[in-house]
């Protein structure tokens, strides 16, 4: 059985590996500081071979458990060679300073940009080439490693060079160097860890297609699943799921799947046409082009576009937050939305890639009101919009926190009695804003303020107003 990759384990092991490896070029740099520039251009890349080997080995130690098909020896070899190349590129500006110092600024800028990009992309590119054939997300891995090294080198330059001052004792110089190396290693490992978790997840999805097996699933883990046609050609990847609020406002059914094709287009397929494949991913039951044309209806909610990471307003307890994840239950007869996860641990889970031991606590969709324009419109177009079923005080809380245009639409659709009560409960300034009536005189607006004020049902604590 494959284990999910732990970001925390990656952070610790890879940072230690990098710190140990970095000691070799650091020591070589001190010893070779008196050598001529051309000699340094040889010594430092050779030292970089050891750094790359240590880094590659540490990464393989973590990856091995979660990615059995990865060839460890190829990975270590590629990382080692790439580190040597990166050191060579990195040493070029300082060792050839006399040569390029007289160049025009524009030439220097162009050369530095190319050199910097090449340096940052070297290790990721070499490792991508060492991955098993057909591994998805190679290009993204190059980006993540470049970002990781960018963060690492920035962290090092923020810590060590400002602290190194002329006349310091040798032990202090070494101590500062170690501190800089540690910060660099941690920053690099932290960023590449996020990429590694995603990389392994995508690789394992390709292997098992487990994201669409019966049971509860997180939307963030379902996105990116490959979709194949009947002749096993990849059509694209899952980019979004569409839920129909007309079926149920609490737990709407998934009706469609949005697929992003390789050429950048989007295709919307009925959910019933797709089945999990034994070889991984999702399979289209009919041949290419034979799937029925289908368009989601008016109260359709695109879970990635309208719900995931979107701001929401709650009536009880009153507040505003964001959706950390969406929980979807796959059953034999179909799929439905269980609810939304609003907890900060949902964010942490997406970062670390940790699979929850139990499904996270989900709040039904009807208990939150979406702030995104499409989400708000879909919820309001549902047969029995939950926001209109709220008691007056709950509706007043929601109206206070929503954008004015959304709040006015809710008021227009609300039942007369509840609307009157809700409006009466609003803070006078919110009432003026939302209803567009009878606020304080215009000339006083500037001085009296007219922004977020809580409803009269919840007077402010602390007496600031």
């Amino acid at each position: 059985m494959q284990h999910p990759l732990s970001w925390r384990r990656w952070l610790v092991v890879v940072a230690v590996g990098e710190l140990v490896g970095f000691a070799v070029p650091a020591a070589a740099g001190m010893l070779a500081s008196e050598l001529v520039a051309s000699a340094q251009l040889v010594v430092m890349p050779v030292a970089g071979l050891f750094e790359g080997a240590a880094l590659g080995y540490a990464q393989v130690v973590v990856l091995r458990r979660s990615w059995p098909t990865l060839r460890g020896d190829a990975w270590v070899r590629a990382t080692s060679l790439a580190a040597a190349v990166a050191w060579f590129l990195g040493m070029l500006p300082s060792t050839t300073h006399d040569w390029w110092a007289t160049w025009p600024a524009a030439w220097v800028a162009v050369t530095a940009t190319i050199l910097g990009t090449a340096l940052l992309a070297t290790i990721g590119t070499a490792q991508a080439l060492a991955m098993p054939p057909g591994t998805p997300g190679r290009l993204a891995w190059v980006g993540w490693t470049a970002l990781g090294w960018c963060a690492g080198l920035t962290a090092f330059s923020l810590v060590a060079p400002p602290l190194w001052q002329p006349g310091q004792a040798a032990w202090l110089l070494v101590l500062i160097g170690v501190a800089g190396g540690l910060v660099m290693a941690l920053a690099m490992a932290a960023v590449t860890g996020v990429g590694a978790v995603r990389l392994v997840e995508r690789a394992s999805r390709t292997d098992a297609g487990r994201s669409f097996m019966p049971g509860p699933h997180l939307l963030s883990a379902m996105l990116g699943t490959p979709v194949y046609d009947a002749s096993d050609d990849e059509l694209g990847r899952v980019r979004d799921l569409v839920a129909d609020l007309a079926t149920d406002t609490d737990h709407p059914a998934i009706t469609h799947v949005v697929i992003g094709t390789g050429d950048g287009r989007r295709a919307v397929l009925p959910y019933g046409e797709l089945k999990p494949r034994s070889g991984g991913g999702l399979g289209l039951e009919r041949g290419p082009g034979k799937a029925p044309v289908s368009t989601p209806g008016r109260p359709a909610l695109f879970l990635r576009r309208d719900v995931l990471d979107a701001p929401v307003v709650l009536a009880a307890p009153p507040g505003r937050t964001r959706v950390s994840d969406v929980i979807v239950e796959i059953g034999t007869a179909g799929a439905r939305v269980i609810g939304v996860d609003l907890t900060p641990s949902g964010i942490a889970r997406r970062f670390t890639g940790r699979t929850p031991t139990a499904p996270p606590r989900a709040l039904p969709l009807s208990q939150v009101h979406l702030v995104s324009a499409h989400g708000h419109a879909a919820q309001l177009a549902a047969p029995d919009p939950a926001v209109l079923e709220l008691p007056a005080d709950g509706m007043a809380e929601v109206l206070t926190r929503l954008p004015v245009a959304h709040a006015r639409e809710i008021l227009r659709a609300a039942d007369g009695r509840v609307r009157e009560d809700a409006v009466r409960l609003l803070h006078p300034r919110v009432r003026a804003r939302v209803t567009g009536t009878a606020g304080p005189p215009r000339r006083m607006r500037r001085l009296s303020g007219w922004r977020l004020h809580r409803p009269g049902t919840h007077p402010p604590v602390g007496g600031r107003r």
Partner: protein, 414 residues
């Protein structure tokens, strides 16, 4: 039954016309003027002292860049009801947003340190110890944000911005050659030497700042501006950017009329204030020092606020100046923490501030490019802004500004 009706019309025609504009004023003015922080004043001072009136036209370019992107930020905030980092998370996911937030928080912390360093430098010019000026300033800006309601905070910050008039006074007292200044403003000329290229890049780079972009968007959201206010908000942005450019113009003129004539080189705004006194009189030097402190104080108030808005945008927590502490703990706590840390760093003896500030400027420059690219993409994304997507001509102008800023950033970094 309560009807949703149009706002009641009252008062004279001119009152009806201008009062909504007065009500909307704020985001553009504050975001623009806070760009004239000590780093900006230093850049303008060096521009004037080293190159005279010759490169004043660069201020026109940077003002255009400021108008384009501050207008875009305000528009995104008003239309989507979300701050920049929140919008990035919603559209591009957790990874991109958290990377942007992390870089923004680090850069803002460094920039806030620079603002408090500016307060320390300005205070010492007036004979006030940094150990008194910096804690008092930090306590003042924190108290303002913690204890003041939205309108009170806004009014105090706007009043603080009026201190920029000191630069106008400094320029007038320096008796500049106004015709040469006007000529330099409207006649682009440049020899493309290394130093000239660098100062041009620095001037454009210092005007557009990542924290300014995130601030204007979040502030427009906090102010609960609506789509109907967009026209007035654009006026606010243009006024803010023009005032920013005008202040920069007077700083350059003051230094060009005095320090450039006497071939005095400077490396900071504090140097400029000290060097102005013997050349243009004590009052001119005093005006410059007061302007420096005011600029630093304004930016020191806005930077932690911008950071707090961004953190809460990311998490989705309440972020409004009208909330109480118990309603928006994360918002107020992050504001106080940023202020305290930045002020503390300035007070630590023998801390090498210059490398720290240079690194911060580099980080700001690097962060600016992806933020500008993301903003231009968001502004054209109809799934986000609906009918308010930018027109093709405006998109072309945005692209030109992005290319110019990328060129400037690359020149600054190499």
């Amino acid at each position: 039954m309560t009807e949703v009706v149009a706002p009641r019309r009252s008062g004279s025609r001119s009152t009806r016309r201008y009062l909504p504009l007065l009500a909307v004023l704020g985001p553009g003015l504050l975001a623009g003027l806070s760009d004239d922080d000590p780093a900006g004043i230093t850049t303008y001072s060096v521009l004037g002292a080293d190159h005279g009136y010759g490169l004043l036209w660069v201020l026109l370019l940077s003002t255009v860049a400021l108008i384009v992107f501050h207008d875009l930020g305000a528009r995104l905030g008003v239309v989507t009801g979300q701050g920049l980092i929140g919008l990035i998370r919603h559209r591009y996911g957790l990874g991109v947003a958290s990377g942007a937030l992390l870089a923004l928080v680090i850069a803002n912390l460094g920039t806030a340190t620079a603002e408090f360093a500016g307060i320390a430098a300005g205070g010492e010019l007036l004979g006030i110890s940094r150990y008194l000026a910096v804690p008092v300033a930090a306590a003042a800006v924190s108290t303002l944000v913690l204890a003041g309601s939205f309108h009170r905070v806004e009014h105090v910050l706007m009043a603080l911005a009026s201190v920029f008039l000191a630069y106008v006074a400094a320029a007038v007292l320096a008796h500049p050659d106004w015709s040469a200044a006007f000529n330099g403003l409207v006649t682009p000329r440049m020899s493309f030497g290394h130093e000239e290229t660098l100062i041009v890049a620095a001037t454009v780079g210092t005007t557009l700042a990542p924290w300014g972009l995130s601030f204007i968007q979040s502030y427009a959201v906090d102010k609960k501006l609506t789509v109907k206010d967009l026209g007035y908000e654009r006026t606010d942005v243009v006024m803010g950017a023009l005032l920013t450019g005008i202040i920069g113009f007077f700083v350059v003129v003051a230094c060009a009329a005095t320090l450039h004539e006497t071939h005095t080189s400077i490396v900071s705004a504090g140097d400029a204030a000290a060097a102005l006194a013997p050349v243009a009189g004590d009052l001119a030097g005093l005006c410059f020092a007061v302007g420096l402190i005011g600029a630093a104080l304004l930016a020191a108030a806005i930077l932690p606020l911008s950071t707090a808005y961004s953190i809460c945008d990311f998490t989705g927590s309440e972020a409004a100046l009208d909330c109480t502490f118990s309603e928006a703990r994360l918002f107020y706590l992050s504001n106080v923490v940023i202020t305290t840390v930045a002020a503390s760093v300035v007070l630590i003896p023998a801390v090498p501030l210059v490398p720290l500030l240079v690194s911060t400027q580099m980080l700001n420059a690097v962060l600016l490019i992806p933020l500008l690219v993301l903003m231009t993409r968001l502004s054209r994304d109809t799934s986000i802004v609906g009918d308010h997507a930018v027109s093709r001509p405006l998109a072309a102008v945005q692209a030109l500004v992005v290319v110019a800023v990328v060129a400037c950033v690359v020149l600054l970094l190499v």
